[in-house]
């Protein structure tokens, strides 16, 4: 009896040791960490941005599932670190507005371009891709792509084939910004989509449902003209891209054979994944871990992005910001260098919506800088003092895409402004609620009495950087001129820019508009984001341009 008990005990001990050994073996087994010659990227997105041609998840989507897999008629020059990213030919080799009817544009297409499925890119493909978001009667019209596309090319109404390699695009009004807007319309393969459409089960008879299912299938097995083609897609987990050796631009034929993209929304998880070698590249590393990341041999890349983190001011009746001296004082009283220090250097100090040297910067007379004494003087002239501060409320969010670190940053600005007789209260609201409030404007009850709002924005495109904040036509609910900032003079400057079809002339007109906005101090300009990312030293030829985007195709990996 005792012997059998002892035997049982011994076998149990062996079993326990076996389990322990197994666990240890698992732990020290050869890690399948980032494989050589494969570039693994951890994105901040919570899901893989849509892969069907018009990505969601903001510009991170365009960065990772747009530009690598697709091309647009026009694109961004991402080869320079030291100059603003400019629009360059993409799938169109040239374009011109009609001399008599400025709502019509003719685009000459690049010959010899193939989609990943082998079909040819031509004028039919362009018309088809315009229809997918603008023509509700088209069989392939997809409502889910409308929002992220049509809002970024607000004046485009239709496309018409002239010949195989020429298309005519029509806008609702003369609009010189169209070539810039078109960077957002990626070309998906109509042939490949048709194949997916035909493969939908015959039992599905509703045409809209068939189209929806075809788009879902297309997203799982996409086909564009970009330098990388989709090779594997695990929903919500990973997207694998393979180099497309038949890419039309020899300079951008990928040197890296495979790219893996993983959604990883938590910044500490991303940082740990980089440090443990599971990924080669992380977007937005945890700020506290920057030193550790550098010490472990990774490289931090950052550059001023066309991004603005401001307080957008209200010009509605009763707003204290109607006094220009107050607006200027606020701009002179923010200690931006201190704020930069708070963010570990991860911001750029703004001089307006664009930095000096940008073609749209112009020559503003008001210099945005830190000068609290001048600010106090202006506030005293406006009738404020330490005993009688200017009391107002600013609507801010606790988090949100592009919002950087809204709470500590706003609190810093609040304290900074206090010395210049500003008593700022915050109305902290949920990020999506803030968007709704932003659309409704400063006069709407949704503003809850706030006279400024802190919604950051992209400044890549003149409409989104300038026009929607300065035109009377963009007053709510039409667009985002939340504060009702506008005048005849500004409208004329907007019209001058929008109807100037000479690129240099258009840029000069935009520079004048920007200078006017700075001189009128429509915002308190607080920061530009720098888009920090940490990348393994093995990854070479990384160029971080002054853009929201980055070109993976030109990178190499040791």
């Amino acid at each position: 009896m005792r012997k059998s008990a002892s035997l049982a005990q011994s076998s149990k001990t062996k079993l326990s040791l076996g389990i322990l050994a197994g666990v240890l073996a698992l732990a020290v087994a050869q890690p399948s960490l980032a494989q050589d010659k494969t570039l693994t990227i951890a994105m901040t997105a919570g899901d893989i941005p849509r892969t069907l041609g018009q990505p969601d998840q903001g510009f991170e989507g365009n960065r990772f599932t747009g530009i690598p897999m697709y091309d647009a008629l026009t694109g961004w020059d991402l080869t320079k670190e030291d100059a603003a990213s400019a629009v360059i030919p993409g799938l169109a080799i040239s374009w011109a507005v009609d001399a008599t009817d400025k709502t019509k544009w003719v685009f000459k297409l690049r010959p010899g371009v193939k989609f990943h499925d082998g079909s040819a890119f031509n004028a039919d493909a362009v018309v088809w891709n315009v229809q997918k978001v603008l023509d509700k009667k088209a069989p392939h019209f997809d409502p889910s792509q409308v929002g992220v596309t049509a809002s970024r090319m607000p004046t485009l109404v239709s496309a018409k084939k002239i010949d195989d390699m020429t298309v005519e695009l029509t806008t609702s009004e003369p609009d010189s910004f169209l070539p810039i807007n078109l960077t957002n319309l990626f070309m998906a393969s109509p042939t490949h989509w048709d194949a997916k459409f035909k493969a939908v089960a015959a039992s599905v008879t509703d045409p809209a449902e068939r189209a929806k299912q075809a788009w879902t299938a297309f997203a799982a097995d996409a086909s564009g003209t970009g330098p990388f083609k989709m090779s594997r897609f695990v929903p919500r987990e990973r997207l694998e891209l393979a180099a497309f050796k038949g890419y039309w631009d020899p300079a951008r034929v990928p040197k890296i054979d495979k790219v893996v993209m993983i959604p990883m929304p938590e910044s500490n998880a991303r940082t740990a994944a980089l440090l443990s070698g599971q990924v080669d590249w992380i977007e937005a590393p945890a700020p506290d871990a920057m030193d550790q990341i550098k010490q472990r041999g990774f490289k931090i890349y950052s550059n001023a992005q066309p991004h603005v983190w401001p307080w957008q001011l209200s010009f509605a009746e009763g707003s204290p910001w109607l006094d220009k001296r107050v607006r200027q004082a606020a701009n002179l009283c923010v200690d931006r260098a201190g704020l930069k220090n708070l963010l570990g250097g991860m911001m750029e100090i703004p001089k307006g919506t664009f930095p000096p040297g940008h073609p749209w910067y112009g020559n503003p007379t008001f210099d945005i800088k830190y000068d609290p004494e001048a600010a106090k003087k202006l506030m005293a002239e406006a009738g404020y003092s330490a005993a009688k501060p200017m009391k107002t409320k600013v609507q801010i969010s606790a988090s949100g895409s592009g919002q950087m670190q809204p709470l500590p940053m706003n609190e810093f600005v609040q304290q900074s402004l206090k010395q210049c007789y500003f008593a700022i209260d915050f109305d902290v609201i949920e990020w999506n609620t803030m968007f709704n409030s932003w659309r409704l404007g400063a006069k709407d009850p949704a503003a809850a009495g706030a006279t400024a709002t802190n919604v950051s924005f992209s400044a890549m495109d003149p409409f989104f950087a300038l026009v929607r904040f300065s035109s009377t036509k963009a007053f709510p609910p039409v667009s985002n001129n939340w504060g009702y900032f506008g005048s005849d003079e500004l409208d004329k400057l907007v019209a001058a820019a929008r109807t100037n079809f000479d690129e240099k002339g258009r840029d000069e007109a935009l520079a004048k508009l920007h200078a006017k906005i700075v001189d009128e101090t429509a915002f308190v300009w607080i920061a530009h984001d720098v888009g920090p990312r940490a990348i393994s030293a093995k990854v070479k030829h990384v160029v971080q341009p002054k853009s929201w985007f980055i070109d993976i195709a030109t990178m190499t990996k040791d």
Binding site: P143, G147, A272, P477
Partner: protein, 317 residues
């Protein structure tokens, strides 16, 4: 008995209707725009109105609810607004991943929970008991997302022994119960196991203490049984309750953990809920909550039926 089963199944219908209604109301009561995932923040009010019409969000809430509930009854939970993929497929894939993780976490929790519980109960008030009890209290009290991060820092970032991200080297779609995939599961499963471990341990400790105070233990001692022999009797007596607690814990873990799955990028229901919440993906959010709620309602129904089969007094009561 058949009548009872029919009655119990029938009772589930209003419960499910209530669940569907609450789930629909909750996601619609939350602030924000249901189309935020497919509409950029800078989209105009006109664009917002156009898309609300295209997606049917301009219809009244009762109309939207009836349409959604009717399709759900037929097994169609709609399509995710953000991804365009069918919600049912998305949820089922996540449920399978959560099930795998919960199974391993419960197993670890059960083994260690029983170990600590039996040892603590058997050697009551000794230092062994105090150490085991402290471990179980810590298991219940320590925030598991924090523990997860600590494990990631130690075993992944510093020692580089274990991966902490995802459900395998190629994602969950090619899951196998092999070493390469299990390595990905160790850290999230360990983190997830601390709560069941603590609860099982405390339950077993109390049980063992109670069993040891019973008269038959005195009888066994009087019979000359060794400590090992007595211990084996204690284990046999405590096992059913310990197993029942383990079953309950497995049920809880099947609901997924938003925090643990997010920290470890484990593609389960917790992470799916997290994504649906942040993207305001209402069909996905409604579908996931509904499936999880249905799971618990059905689970409770089955338990009720089994209990009644085992003990008919329950049905009579």
């Amino acid at each position: 008995m058949v009548n009872f089963i029919f009655q119990r199944v029938f009772q589930t219908i209003p419960i499910m209707l209530g669940v569907a209604l609450v789930c629909f109301a909750l996601v619609h009561l939350a602030p924000g725009d249901p189309l935020v995932s497919i509409m950029p923040p800078d989209a105009s009010q006109d664009m917002q109105k156009q898309l609300m019409e295209l997606y049917g969000f301009n219809k009244s809430y009762p109309e939207q609810f009836v349409r959604w509930a009717w399709r759900a009854v037929q097994g169609d939970l709609g399509n995710s607004i953000a991804s365009g993929r069918p919600v049912a497929t998305e949820v089922m894939r996540a449920v399978v991943n959560t099930f795998r993780l919960a199974l391993v976490a419960t197993f670890i929790g059960f083994i260690f929970g029983c170990l600590f519980g039996f040892v603590a109960g058997y050697f009551q008030n000794s230092w062994v008991d105090k150490a085991a009890s402290l471990t179980s209290v810590l298991g219940v009290s320590v925030p598991h997302y924090w523990l997860g991060m600590v494990l990631v820092i130690i075993f992944s970032s510093l020692l580089m022994w274990l991966p902490h991200n995802g459900a395998g080297p190629g994602g969950s779609s090619d899951w196998h119960w092999d070493a390469e995939h299990l390595r990905h599961m160790i850290l999230p499963a360990l983190t997830m196991s601390v709560i069941p471990m603590g609860i099982i341990s405390r339950t077993v400790r109390a049980l063992v203490a109670e069993i040891l105070s019973q008269e038959f233990i005195v009888g066994l001692k009087a019979k000359g049984l060794t400590n090992v022999g007595i211990f084996s009797h204690v284990v046999k007596n405590a096992a059913p309750t310990a197993l029942a607690v383990m079953g309950l814990q497995l049920g809880y873990l099947l609901g997924g953990s938003i925090l643990i799955e997010t920290v470890f990028s484990w593609p389960g229901t917790g992470m799916l809920l997290n994504a649906a919440i942040f993207q305001r993906d209402l069909p996905l959010l409604q579908g996931t909550i509904l499936v999880l709620a249905t799971f618990f309602v059905v689970l409770n129904m089955i338990v009720d039926i089994i209990q009644t089969m085992l003990d008919p007094r329950i049905a009579r009561g």
